[in-house]
């Protein structure tokens, strides 16, 4: 009975979804959808009796999961929609994707994003790994604060303070040495590294904490210098965590909007910034297309990272 009720609920959600996309008969479909949801609730209430709380848990959770996914599914679907308006389904087309690849600005933004993400990921991974090891081994007092605060505080604060720093301090100071310095790719990379270090550090530290300490002592006991111990024992053992951290940093960098917004100059555009401009100026399904591609990329990266460090997800919390 419970399964039937939940199936009815799923069907109701699907009908509501369809009602949104349909060109005609939207109202009837919507009513039908809600009716199904009510029926599902009724069926569940009648049939589940003793496991009633369990049923409500499933009912509510299904709605929440639907809430999480349906908006994104709509974005993906409309990216293939043969209509300029994101209103209803007209027909299948890949035209928007074609337009995307012909858009020079977009391609430049994509290139920038990847370049920045790669650079930032590498630097953040190296520094974050060092920070993670340091915090585990030496328990420093100030470093954890410096590492974790950029992650915990609202991004706008970090973005704004870096803006002031770059334009008001770095530019004149470096100018005095004859170096021209302005907002651009470099400043974005620096900004991204600053908040990515924390994520890598958490992962590496968690990995070290879960290991048998005596393994490192054993290496030194058997004749390995501290550097050899790191190279032959520590590094191989934390490598999955380091790679997961690198992927995480890459993903965060590619997706970042707020900090990039403040740290980039007029000429530097990344994909999120490009999307932002498109949203504010003229909304076309091109946005859907680039969003879909971006989603696919970050999805793949998260899945790989999840394979390498399954407790990564918990560490984030």
């Amino acid at each position: 009975m419970r399964k039937l009720a939940l199936a009815a609920e799923a069907l109701g959600i699907a009908v509501l979804f369809w009602s949104f996309l349909a060109s005609g008969g939207k109202d009837t479909l919507a009513v039908a959808g809600f009716a199904l949801l009510a029926v599902a609730a009724l069926l569940g209430a009648l049939g589940a009796r003793r496991e009633l709380p369990g049923f409500w848990l499933w009912y509510a959770s299904l709605l929440v999961y639907a809430f999480l996914y349906i908006p994104l599914v709509i974005v993906v679907i409309f990216s293939f929609n043969d209509s300029k308006l994101n209103a209803e389904w007209v027909g299948l087309t890949t035209g928007w994707y074609a337009k995307l690849f012909a858009d020079d600005e977009m391609l430049q933004a994509a290139l920038n994003s990847v370049l920045i993400a790669c650079t930032a990921a590498v630097i953040a991974t190296v520094l974050g790994t060092m920070a993670g090891i340091s915090m585990h081994r030496f328990r420093p007092k100030l470093l954890p604060f410096l590492v974790f605060t950029p992650v915990a505080m609202p991004e706008i604060l970090l973005g704004v303070s870096l803006l002031i720093f770059f334009l008001n301090t770095a530019t004149p100071v470096l100018g005095a040495f004859g170096i021209e310095f302005g907002l651009g790719l470099a400043t974005v990379v620096i900004a991204h590294v600053t908040f990515c270090i924390g994520f890598v550090a958490i992962i590496v530290r968690a990995r070290l904490a879960g290991m048998d300490e005596s393994v490192f002592e054993a290496a030194r006991d058997l004749g390995a210098t501290p550097w050899q111990t790191f190279r032959l024992v520590t590094l191989p053992l934390i490598l999955p965590g380091v790679i997961a951290g690198a992927l995480m940093a890459f993903t965060l960098s590619i997706d970042d909007f707020v900090i990039t917004f403040f740290a980039s100059g007029v000429g530097t555009k990344t994909l999120p910034l490009q999307i932002y401009t498109m949203i504010k100026v003229a909304v076309t399904p091109e946005v859907n297309a680039i969003s879909t591609l971006l989603m696919a990329l970050t999805l793949a990266l998260i899945l790989i990272a999840n394979k390498l460090a399954p407790d990564l997800v918990r560490a984030k919390a």
Binding site: L52, P53, W56, L57, A60, S61, V64, Y65, L68, Y69, P71, L72, I74, V75, F78, L127, A131, S134, R137, F138, P140, L143, L146, V147, P150, A152, M153, P154, E155, I156, L157, V160, S161, L163, I164, F165, L167, N168, I190, V193, T194, I197, A201, F257, V258, F262, L271, P272, I279, K280, V283, S291, L294, M295, T298, I302, V313, R314, K316, A317
Partner: protein
């Protein structure tokens, strides 16, 4: 070992230095910036006057403006209101999911958690844009409602995960004991599960409340001019009116607010743990 100290600096040094230069220093500079005059063409005025009659040096002008005009207090209050509402809605929506995952058999849990995290894989703007599409036809766009929906949508995973992490650790035997002693399902939840989950509730709340306070993109894209919160003001100060001292002052105020919230939830969480 004598070499331990050099090792410490070798390993911990580079990240430490990097963060001091690119995090601590900018923060301090911003602190000072809030006490300066705005530059003639925007930005900051110099600390030492280079031309006669130019404003330079330190001042508490920005703070004066902040404390003299009620508008700013209102905006902060609005921001707190939005953040609180978002947090409550997130809590109500996140709890069933977190509970369901925690109660599910072990082999399903990782998958269910992954399903919660995956929407997070999409770009933040994409998630906001999706609601533009959905709310547009219903004429609900550019309203307070849209802003809240957007805020909830973006931050929901941040409430689900800490809550789940906490609930997963609960000992099922406690509930069995309660049932054995005659408690109904609702009673069991309210008297056993919920109190024990309070630390998770508080850490999840902090993870939602604090970022919402500083948001500007969602009110800007999904809301009207009326729905501006602190984040919008800060952005406007730096990129619109270019009154950097004012923007810095607002940022500092925001930082204080964040610290207060963080401290508050942390204190509440510790109290909850002690009472549990």
């Amino acid at each position: 070992m004598r070499s331990n100290r050099t090792l410490r600096w070798l390993v911990g040094g580079p990240p430490f230095l990097f963060l001091v230069v690119f995090f601590l220093l900018p923060a301090l500079i911003m602190l000072v910036a809030s006490l300066r005059y705005p530059g003639e063409f925007g930005g900051l005025a110099p600390l030492i006057a280079t031309r006669p009659g130019e404003e330079a040096g330190l001042t508490v002008e920005s703070y004066g403006v902040f404390f003299s005009d009620w508008v700013y207090a209102e905006i902060f209050a609005k921001s707190f209101g939005v953040a609180a509402l978002t947090t409550l809605i997130c809590l109500a929506m996140a709890y069933p999911v977190a509970l369901l995952i925690a109660r599910s058999p072990k082999k399903n849990r990782d998958l269910m958690v992954l399903l919660v995290v995956l929407p997070f894989a999409s770009n933040f703007l994409v998630r906001v844009y999706a609601w533009m599409i959905i709310l547009g036809p219903f004429d609900l766009l550019f309203s307070r409602f849209a802003v809240i929906v957007g805020m909830v949508y973006v931050h929901l995973p941040f409430m689900i995960l800490p809550l789940y992490t906490n609930l997963e650790k609960h000992d099922p035997a406690l509930l069995d004991a309660a049932q054995d002693l005659g408690a109904s399902a609702w009673r069991r939840f309210w008297r056993v599960t919920f109190p024990l989950s309070l630390p998770g509730v508080f850490s999840g709340s902090a993870l939602v409340f604090i970022p919402v306070l500083g948001m500007f993109a969602i009110p800007e894209i999904l809301g009207g001019k009326d729905d501006w919160i602190v984040g919008n003001m800060i952005k406007e100060s730096f990129l619109g009116t270019r009154d950097w001292p004012f923007g810095s002052m607002l940022s500092l105020m925001l930082t204080l607010a964040v610290l207060a919230v963080a401290g508050g939830t942390s204190w509440l969480a510790r109290r909850a743990v002690r009472q549990a």
